[in-house]
Symmetry: C2
Subunit: 216 residues, 2 copies
């Protein structure tokens, strides 16, 4: 029996009681159209799996932050756990991921697009750009992971490049060519699914060199 | 008119629609029994205010992580924002606070006790101890802020000391004397409310010295 990596992950999601599991489960036919290398995962799933790998191997400790929720009403039924009956989504004030890698503070946001030639900047919110800039000032290693899912290409782009483009008037997107120029491209693989720390190593080496390209 | 600092904060909580605001609001009489220096805040409130101060002054970027929630059912009523109608609290896998300070990764948990002579170790959960230890291996600055609220005394204790005590069999608490010995004590003040970065500076200097006391 061939055990597809994707099957393993689906089983994992089922076991942890992911409520979106059924909704996102598609017929086996969809496999025909996609590359196996990314295992049919979303970018977020790929990063979460990579973080798990990095943590278990004691390479880095990076977690996705929970979505901030304003809780208004909670029920405490007998013999069972508390149920939140009324709550609202709050505005996030940071990025989705942060953590520590060999003494370095990492902070990043991940975004994907189905576009093939450019990345729309409206995908980033102002609070994310502000937060990344604040962390850069504190000498964090700050970046974005941009996935062109239709092309199966993934880029680790320094936050200062994205911030600069984001604040440029009348600039609504960055071209794939610009992203290629500014970023370290990484290939999706098996373990880790998305080896983004390879790009971080580049940025750290770049920071130490006198004529760094990325100025991260 | 005297504008009490506590009043300002209450107004802030009211303005952001904090659902616990009314519940925690007490008559003015309670002020007689407490020191004004901590402004009647909980330890968490003191740390959140300090983080706000540090961020605005561009000294450090530290945020409290949201409580992780498993969302099951969301309603999208017309003309108003999404309402979460069924959700559950999930087990946290990290500590409450992390961030970056001048290139250093900070990670900590804050706990308070009304005890006057010892701190019960059951206040820490295994996942918090494990996470702090993982971050220590990645050279993060990891610690706990312990508040003896009855004494109005606050200690910044290196995570390795707490982890060592936590894993010691039959040790259910650490004495105030032990905490005094292991920690940097900080005094609550005005801005920031709890200047815990003073302790972090000690730890950083200690790490650089050959015969460091804290071995953080």
């Amino acid at each position: 029996m061939v055990k597809y990596p994707n099957g393993t992950f689906a089983a994992f999601r089922k076991s942890v009681g992911d409520p979106t599991f059924k909704k996102n489960q598609k017929s086996n036919n969809y496999r025909k159209n996609i590359s196996f290398s990314d295992r049919g995962m979303t970018l977020e799933q790929m990063i979460n799996e990579s973080n798990k790998f990095y943590r278990l191997k004691e390479i880095a400790v990076v977690h996705k932050k929970p979505t901030p929720i304003q809780i208004v009403k909670v029920d405490y039924p007998k013999r069972s756990r508390a149920v939140i009956k009324e709550a609202y989504f709050r505005q996030e004030s940071t990025t989705d991921y942060n953590g520590v890698y060999n003494g370095y503070y990492l902070d990043f946001e991940a975004k994907e697009t189905k576009n093939k030639t450019s990345f729309p900047l409206k995908n980033f919110h102002e609070h994310q750009i502000v937060h990344l800039t604040e962390c850069l000032k504190q000498k964090g290693i700050c970046f974005t992971i941009i996935g062109f899912t239709s092309l199966n290409r993934y880029f680790v782009t320094p936050a200062n490049m994205i911030a600069k483009a984001w604040w440029t008037q009348n600039k609504s997107s960055v071209t794939l060519t610009e992203i290629e120029e500014w970023s370290v491209e990484i290939e999706s693989g098996f373990q880790p699914t998305l080896p983004y720390l390879e790009a971080v190593d580049y940025f750290i080496a770049d920071r130490k060199s006198k004529n760094g390209k990325y100025k991260i």
